[in-house]
Amino acid sequence: MNSYQKSEELFLRATKVIPEGIYGTRKPGFVLPKASPYFAARGAGGHYWDVDGNEFIDFMCGYGPNVLGHAHPEVDAAVRERVSQGFSFNQPTEEMVELAELMTRLVPIADWAVFAKNGSDVTTWAIRVAREHTERSKILATKGTYHGSHAWCAAYPAGVTAEDKANIVYFNWNDLEQFERLVEKHRGDVAGVIMTPYYHPACAPSIMPAEGFWKGVREICDREGMLIILDDIRVGFRVHIQGSYAMFGIEPDLICHAKAMANGYPIAAAMGTKEVLGAAEAVFISGTYFYSPMEMVAALTTLRILEETDAIPEIARMGTRLKEGLESLGKSHGYNVTVSGPAAIPYLSFDDHPDLYHMQTFCREAIARGVFFHPHHNWYICAAHTDEDIDRALEAADAAFKVVREELGG
């Protein structure tokens, strides 16, 4: 049985000086309070250790950024080298140009790139570029999709005004008819649509795009002079070296990248086609740290490794082993379980128990056995995961399913 004593002590210290102690997606209530760590200490490859010394196979990968694994020697060495030469200057460095060159080569649909720190930075900027390009106000977005924490896309209303969201119009994923109706309703005032490549909400299975959905969206956008903004932050280079558009056959005008591009170093990118370059040049983007070469070096190294090695197919292979193993184990314990989403970004669900009691018990038991499965969020596979990790994860899952059966039955 894991002890989380230090985690809990740190949490109590934190509550005295930090709102909520731990905020946002890392707050204890979003995972499994008392049954999972609150604070991490170190990581290596596909594993990490919490402040109490408990070791876990890491199937969250820092909520996505660790695509090559923790403390990757090549990435970290490149960063250390850059740090030794200074990394906070009055001008950008050569790495910014190199990274834009590399990314536009890797993502052939895009002709340019700008850099920021977080996904929210670039999704927010991208919708402004769409508005500038089209000289229209409204943005269509799918209901329940996370595009960041800025006011226009905040999931919760605290501190958000009606005006902040006045020009965001929501439709249901895969509902092309509703999309068309809304475009018609707001004809002439819709700048574009922002979507993830597939639907990946929290606490619910991932849903792939229906046959012809993206094609239909593109046709409507072309007809109406609207732009497609692809929020590829969660998926991106984890599934394809060109990003997810290549995997799903999407033709975006603007693309937002972040998580899987620098192995955990904080950098985000917005990319676009030459047609929207003028608007991109007009919409101001800046931030004190947006030019930092430290993260750019990390991105250059990470993307080169992803391109030059079999990291991406290996991630898919490991994910497929995990998916097939979990579905088979679930069945052997009498449960209909589905692992949805791409193999690299799996989401496990008990099909007959959408209220999550079964999922929470399952993940509690897996975590107790050293396998960090999140009960409410999709998981991530990284290139450092090994066949042995998958074997251990499935062994823990087998035991966890057994406990679920004993505690909750069918």
Partner: protein, 254 residues
């Protein structure tokens, strides 16, 4: 703070507690002894509620009573809130001769309600008094959530996006229990004192003391969850939306 919402929560979530108050608190019971009347609180273009006092009991109703004995009117929610704070007077549409209830008896009820609700006597109170305080707080929060989903424009998106389902909350080992849920679009319910079969989510408060601290704002829900004093299972989307409503009610109630 939105004045209409504040008034709505008082009328719909706090005022009903007077029913329970006079059953428990001797001073409050004494204040209404021998009284028989219905008092209407009527905010122009806003919420309305009434209290019927009879046979030593209080009954609360939302909306307008057919034949109130004392009909109090307020041009704005601010006027109502000021009266509750003891800083203003209402208009009297009917029942000048019954005004004594408002000036002498109603303040006693209000004072005793706040005494229990805010746990002002907690240091020397009995276990029963502490339980009563938690019960009042529990009821107020449940009623407050029903009020905010209907009357708070800021909570509209939360109410809309909340999944249909019921959260069952209970204080362990045998404390107060209740539920809040969305039955269908724009339809919300709250129950008190009843267990719920097959709820979509369960919130267990570890003790009466934890419940009291949460209700009094002495500890935050997020901290109690982190320390394991509050345990939540089930539909997290439902719980997260309800937490937003609870936070809103707590802030409005101060």
């Amino acid at each position: 703070m939105d004045a209409t919402l504040q008034a709505s929560i008082f009328l719909k979530a706090i005022m009903p507690l007077m029913e329970n108050l006079v059953e428990y608190d001797q001073e409050a019971a004494a204040a209404i002894e021998g009284e028989k009347l219905t008092v209407q609180f009527d905010i122009k273009d806003g919420p309305a509620a009434y209290l019927t006092v009879e046979n030593g009991a209080v009954r609360h109703g939302i909306g307008k009573h057919a034949k109130p004995d004392l009909w109090l009117t307020f041009p704005t929610a601010d006027h109502f809130n000021n009266m509750i704070a003891g800083k203003g007077k209402p208009g009297i549409r009917k029942g000048f001769t019954r005004l004594g209830f408002l000036t002498k008896k109603f303040p006693v009820l209000g004072k005793r309600l706040m005494y229990h609700l805010r746990g002002e006597g907690k240091d020397d109170s009995s276990p029963e008094a502490r339980r009563f305080q938690v019960e009042l707080g529990f009821r107020a929060l449940l009623g407050g959530m029903v009020a905010v989903v209907s009357d708070d424009p800021k909570m509209k998106s939360i109410a809309e996006s909340m999944p249909v389902g019921t959260l069952y909350a209970r204080v362990l080992p045998d404390g107060p229990q209740g539920s809040f849920g969305k039955v269908a679009d724009n339809t919300f319910t709250a129950t008190f004192g009843e267990a719920v079969e097959n709820p979509n989510a369960v919130m267990e408060l570890g003790s009466l003391e934890i419940a009291r601290q949460l209700i009094n704002g002495e500890t935050l829900p997020v901290i109690a969850i982190g320390t394991g004093d509050v345990v939540i299972h089930g539909s997290i989307p439902l719980v997260e939306k309800i937490n937003v409503l609870l936070g809103r009610v707590s802030r409005v109630m101060g």
